[in-house]
């Protein structure tokens, strides 16, 4: 083996952190005498040092990337319905975050969305909810009574198990009237569900108004998702103006950056720009936004953004 190829072998050992001290000496000795190998060793050391330098992560932008990914997943899953098997496994939970316009019937106002369960032989007939479902169904009821039952069924599917049994799968909602203090965790849950689950426009707008006094971080996230995803411009505008109250909040900033880049409504984008400028967004981020807007052929928002650049 020539001396240089032995050096190669030793350098590979060094890169793998498998080199013995005596071998290191041998390697350095050759590096001093041979220009070629010497520069390789120097390069290996420079790379090690360069790699140790911290790369500052653009955390605001990465948060924006995450929102964009989540948003895209929501949008893609829109046409899919709850079903059994593989798709069911991955989509059931997602469906709760999706606005299904057809489901937004008035009966859902103040309704209680309990998720779906299976009333098969493997189900848990002992649970209070299933008992309630059975009790409600056993009574002699007219068509009108069934229609106006406090329990509302949706997303119903039937399949035959055998000659004796059918398998039933459905979501059940029950109308509930309660009073609770503003800090009650139930209030938070209801606000979030009203924003994220199928509910009528009026209910969503009302939830946004009530969310104004609630500073729970999960409510804030629900507002962000609503601003980025709600199909109604009116709702998105209202959530946006609610989120203006969160000063210098990195999650809200990231969401406003998304609005600036992806939102169709110019109005929403102008408000987002004002928020960002008023909340110490970096000039660098602003420049990146201007570049994006320019490539989109945007005019009104672009003009305003350029005016904010130093």
């Amino acid at each position: 083996m020539s001396i240089c190829s032995e050096f190669e072998h030793l350098l590979e050992k060094m890169m793998a952190d498998e080199i013995a001290p005596a071998e290191t000496e041998q390697l350095r000795d050759h590096a001093r005498k041979c220009d070629h190998c010497g520069s390789l060793l120097k390069l290996q050391e420079d790379l090690s040092a360069a790699g140790q330098m911290e790369t500052e992560l653009p955390s605001e932008d990465l948060q924006g990337v995450r929102y964009a990914v989540l948003r895209s997943i929501h949008l893609r899953s829109l046409p899919s319905t709850i079903s059994t098997g593989r798709a069911g496994r991955t989509r059931v939970g997602l469906a709760r975050l999706i606005w299904a316009a057809g489901l937004a019937a008035a009966v859902f106002v103040g309704g209680f969305f309990l998720g779906n369960f299976w009333s098969t032989s493997h189900g848990d007939p002992g649970s209070a909810l299933i008992r309630q479902v059975y009790n409600d169904a056993r009574k002699e009821k007219s068509l009108r009574e069934v229609e106006n039952s406090p329990l509302m069924y949706s997303n119903v599917s039937f399949s035959r198990v055998d000659d004796q049994k059918l398998s039933l799968s459905f979501d059940v909602a029950r109308h509930v009237d309660l009073t609770a203090g503003p800090e009650d965790p139930l209030v938070r849950d209801l606000l979030i569900q009203a924003l994220l689950n199928p509910s009528p426009l009026g209910a969503r707008l009302k939830a946004i108004s009530f969310a104004e006094t609630n500073r729970d971080p999960e409510v804030k996230r629900a507002l962000i998702l609503s601003m980025l995803n709600d199909p109604s411009v009116a709702v998105r505008l209202k959530t946006e103006s609610n989120l203006l109250n969160y000063k210098n909040d990195s999650e809200v900033q990231a969401a406003f950056l998304q609005v600036l880049r992806k939102e169709e409504s110019v109005q929403l984008r102008l408000v987002a720009l004002d928020y960002l400028v008023g909340n110490n967004v970096s000039q660098e981020t602003l420049r990146a936004v201007v570049r994006d807007l320019r490539s989109q052929g945007e005019t009104a928002v672009l003009r305003k953004a350029v005016a904010y650049l130093h």
Binding site: A16, K42, A50, R89
Partner: protein, 185 residues
């Protein structure tokens, strides 16, 4: 205690977007840095990162329960980066990496730090002369501090092959730096 990757994956598969968000947050830095070594610029690296996580979500249920997430994620990052590079070439708007341009996202403070940073950044830029696979090996080894064994898991090759790739990358980089007159003292 932190939830393990496996738990987050299981929860993501049963539809928890919060769990998937946590998983992304855990690995966004790694994916971004590897993507930056291909994209060269922040905006490009962010685009690649977004594609990576969308692809991860789509393929998540194909990840074997006993397989570990990180090497799989890095393979997806690699493939998405290659896809991105290909698209850039196809659209003919590939901006050649400017080896003199400062890397975005660095904060310069003291003068000697600045000098060394310039040198290190120039070195980082010069990695673009390596082929994509070699670039990944060098990035994982020197920038992510991964072991040869871990890298062999990502590249799905032997440890000996990884060492060989690293050595040949050093050779290639040396030639490149000599050509551009940037021999380090």
């Amino acid at each position: 205690m932190d939830r393990t990757d496996n738990i987050l994956i299981q929860e993501s598969l049963s539809g928890s977007m919060g769990a998937f968000d946590d998983l992304m947050e855990r690995y966004q830095g790694l994916v971004y840095k590897v993507a930056l070594s291909y994209g060269g610029r922040r905006e490009h690296a962010l685009d690649i990162t977004q594609n990576v996580f969308l692809s991860v979500y789509e393929k998540l249920d194909s990840l074997r329960a006993d397989a570990s997430f990180k090497p799989w994620l890095l393979r997806i990052t690699y493939h998405e980066s290659i896809n991105w590079l290909r698209k850039q070439r196809r659209h003919q708007d590939h901006e050649p990496v400017d080896e003199n341009a400062p890397l975005l996202g660095r904060t310069h403070t003291q003068e000697e730090v600045l000098l060394w940073q310039e040198k290190a950044e120039c070195l980082t830029r010069s990695l673009s002369c390596l082929n994509p696979k070699h670039r990944l090996a060098v990035t994982l080894k020197y920038y992510e501090g991964m072991s040869i064994r871990e890298i062999s898991g990502v590249l799905e090759c032997s440890e000996m092959m990884v060492k060989n790739i690293l050595y040949r990358s050093l050779e290639k980089l040396r030639q490149r730096l000599v050509q551009t007159g940037r021999v380090f003292q």
